[in-house]
């Protein structure tokens, strides 16, 4: 068969967000691979320069739907460093707990997606069912399933109380048991092992030179983890292992992620036990003094990096974001060298490219009581009333803004 070039994307069932790959095939064999990125560029860095710091916290949180806490934490850490704020211990612990819960939901999501990419839909259905446990916990703690909005400059916005702690512990027990089952599955299921091992090989040296991060690097035997190397939040007080693996393939990446899940359960239990009492935030100034800071964060997919430069006003001079996927995507071409077309979806998925997942409304219905689901207009009216009852009226401000436009 002569060579053919087939497009994978910008829209393709294997990709959950637009990106364009083109693959040159000879029969089933991949001869060349090239990527055209940027379909999701939304100009967030520029938009950050035009908004105040507190608005930016919520804007950077929306860079990604899955690792939203990663971006907002990395950003507030940088701003707090410039402003010289010392964040209360309890807030750091709460940030850590949310971060690990986010890692759990992200890794479970990945496991399901990986199952789907290799045509193993049962794994997808099982892991996503179990993922609901941690999503419900996140919704209980922060009010949202994704884009938690728990961070603010100088601390966190919500406390964790005793009943929530017992709910989290219960959920951790359930998830730990399920994860043990998945680890057993990954070690015993023949077709799964056949499809994952020796696929997408990235040697130790290549991973180093191409700058792989996160589970992709750790599965190639590089013990690199920002939580350990450059501790932030409460990670310096927690005990955990950096999970590595020597398989150097997609199977290794699966095992690393499963191992990290087990570590996360341990860390959350420890953090809940050792969390000190006290305030959860300090007051942050509206104008941040001039300065610059560089903040690193170990997101579920790898190292997330934020650089913030302040010029003394209430808006940042420059915000630079490097999400982990950008570092990892450069390894994909290497992994696909001389592989089969059938391996392409799982190899791309194995670096866990960031895709946003849509929020949804949880409707709580009690029998006999009328349905309390709020539509958008009701919600808006409710919020205006809520603030007005507390002496804050946005009506004038709104009018001013609309006149300016």
């Amino acid at each position: 068969m002569r060579k053919v070039v087939i497009p994978i994307g910008p829209q393709h069932p294997a990709l959950k967000e637009p990106e364009s790959f083109s693959v040159t095939l000879s029969g089933e064999r991949i001869m060349a691979f090239s990527a055209r990125l940027g379909y999701n560029h939304r100009g967030i860095e520029k938009a950050c320069e035009e908004r105040t710091y507190i608005q930016d916290v919520y804007l950077v949180e929306r860079i990604c739907g899955i690792c939203s806490h990663a971006h907002s934490t990395a950003f507030v850490q940088a701003v707090e460093e410039i402003a010289g704020l010392s964040v209360p211990e309890r807030a750091l612990y709460i940030r850590t707990i949310i971060a690990e819960l986010e890692r759990i939901h992200s890794h479970l999501l990945w496991l399901g997606v990986a199952g789907h990419e290799i045509g193993f839909d049962t794994l997808l259905m099982y892991t996503w069912r179990d993922r609901e446990v941690v999503m419900d916990i996140l919704a209980e703690l922060t009010g949202n399933r994704v884009n938690y909005g728990i961070n603010t400059i100088g601390g966190v916005r919500r406390n964790i109380d005793a009943s929530e702690i017992s709910d989290i512990l219960k959920a951790m027990d359930i998830l730990e048991e399920r994860t043990k089952y998945y680890i057993q599955l990954a070690k015993e299921e023949t077709t799964l092992i056949k499809r994952l091992s020796c696929v997408g090989i990235l040697s130790h040296e290549d991973a180093l030179s191409l700058g792989a991060v996160g589970p992709t690097a750790r599965a190639s035997g590089i013990p690199r983890d920002t939580r350990k190397d450059d501790p932030y939040a409460a990670y310096d007080k927690l005990e955990f292992k950096v999970i590595t693996d020597d398989h150097c393939d997609v199977y290794g990446r699966t095992l690393v992620r499963l191992g990290e899940l087990m570590e996360s359960y341990k860390m959350i239990r420890q953090a809940l036990k050792e969390m000190p009492t006290g305030p959860i935030s300090v007051k942050a100034p509206r104008k941040i003094p001039a300065g610059e800071a560089f903040s690193r964060y170990e997101a579920p997919r790898g190292e997330d990096v934020h650089y913030v430069k302040a010029d003394g006003t209430d808006r940042p001079e420059r915000v630079k974001v490097r999400a982990p996927t950008l570092a990892n995507l450069q390894t994909v071409a290497k992994m696909l060298e001389d592989r089969q077309l059938a391996d392409l979806p799982i190899v791309i998925a194995a670096i866990d490219p960031c895709f946003s997942c849509t929020d949804r409304l949880i409707s709580l219905r009690e029998p006999k009581k009328p349905d309390k689901t709020l539509a958008w207009e009701d919600l808006r009216a409710y919020s205006i009333e809520w603030y007005r009852a507390r002496g804050i009226d946005f009506t004038k401000v709104n009018r001013k803004i609309s006149r300016r436009n």
């Binding site: 053919v4 089933e28 056949k194």
Partner: protein
């Protein structure tokens, strides 16, 4: 004069097969969903899907050969429906039979795969072409073990007619137990024929969208899907009549119920395997078929030859 038409169009022909196929699809989907801890579709879902597809617009790609593109679904449907007439369902006698109809049925069941290849090839889309080549490659892998393991019971029964095989096994009760290995091999090969997980390589969604069927829409796609459903029924009926040849002397209604039970349990075994395996790669699939499936089918032939020698001596 009138009866053959009734047979062909209504029972056990086209109309019956359409309904049996839709029921089989429902059972497959519902079971698959329940095994995955989902709710699953309501019973009329396959029919609703079919009606929806028939009401949609047929789009023929500009580059495609319209005649081939439109003819292929019809060919697939006719071939599968025709095959049922030579298979004994609930009485040891099929509607039509002659010595050698075994080969004809196998041949008729190969035609749908060929139409997937031609339909995919003539729709000229890259995804379809890759899917088309894959379904043909796969055909060479599973067809040999399937044919070998269907031949084995025929050797034991000393006939090439499915109906005579059925009466042979009916008269020699318990002989079908010799063919257990062949039964397993045949179910695996049928999974390949029906392009179901772990052998759904030609329509691997995450790689080549929908493979052969990428460009098909509306009525033509509906007919293709229907022919796949009917192929599932016909394939299971073939396996049931060859490997589970008992209960043919029952009264019509009881016999019919037993037959449906046999077919649906084969379909259930297939949905079970669908939910516990991951999709293989095409090279792994071919390796598997030639390394394990064919030797097993060969072993089945040996067993039958030895049994025949032992029994007739």
């Amino acid at each position: 004069m009138f009866t053959p038409f009734l047979h062909i169009l209504v029972f056990p022909g086209f109309l019956f097969l359409v309904f049996a196929g839709l029921i089989a699809e429902y059972i497959d989907r519902k079971l698959y969903a329940r095994l995955q801890n989902r709710v699953g579709p309501p019973f009329f879902q396959p029919l609703a899907d079919f009606i929806k597809l028939t009401s949609k617009e047929d789009i023929v790609p500009e580059e495609a050969n319209p005649r081939m593109f439109k003819a292929m679904p019809i060919f697939a449907l006719t071939a599968t429906v025709t095959a049922i007439f030579y298979i004994p369902l609930w009485s040891p006698k099929a509607l039509y039979s002659f010595n050698g109809d075994l080969i004809v049925v196998m041949y008729l069941l190969t035609i749908p795969t060929l139409t997937y290849f031609l339909g995919g090839w003539y729709s000229t889309s890259l995804y379809s072409k890759i899917g088309a080549v894959r379904s043909l490659t796969q055909l060479f892998a599973y067809e040999v073990p399937l044919l070998m393991c269907i031949l084995a019971p025929a050797l034991l029964a000393n006939t090439w007619s499915l109906s005579e095989m059925a009466s042979f096994y009916e008269n020699h009760s318990g002989y079908w137990l010799f063919n257990i290995i062949g039964f397993a091999v045949a179910i695996v090969a049928l999974l390949g024929k029906l392009e179901k997980v772990p052998f759904d390589i030609p329509e691997a969604e995450t790689e080549i969208v929908a493979g052969t069927f990428t460009e098909y829409s509306g009525r033509l796609f509906g007919i293709f899907r229907l022919s796949l459903d009917i192929e599932a029924i016909v394939g299971s009926s073939l396996i049931a009549s060859v490997y589970l040849p008992f209960g043919f002397h029952l009264k019509p209604l009881a016999g019919f119920l037993l037959y449906m039970g046999k077919v649906l349990s084969i379909i259930a075994i297939m949905s079970l395997s669908r939910s516990i395996f991951a999709r293989l790669r095409i090279d792994q699939m071919i390796n598997f078929c030639w390394k394990y499936l064919s030797p097993l089918a060969f072993l089945q032939i040996l067993i039958c030859l030895i049994a025949k020698w032992g029994l007739y001596r």
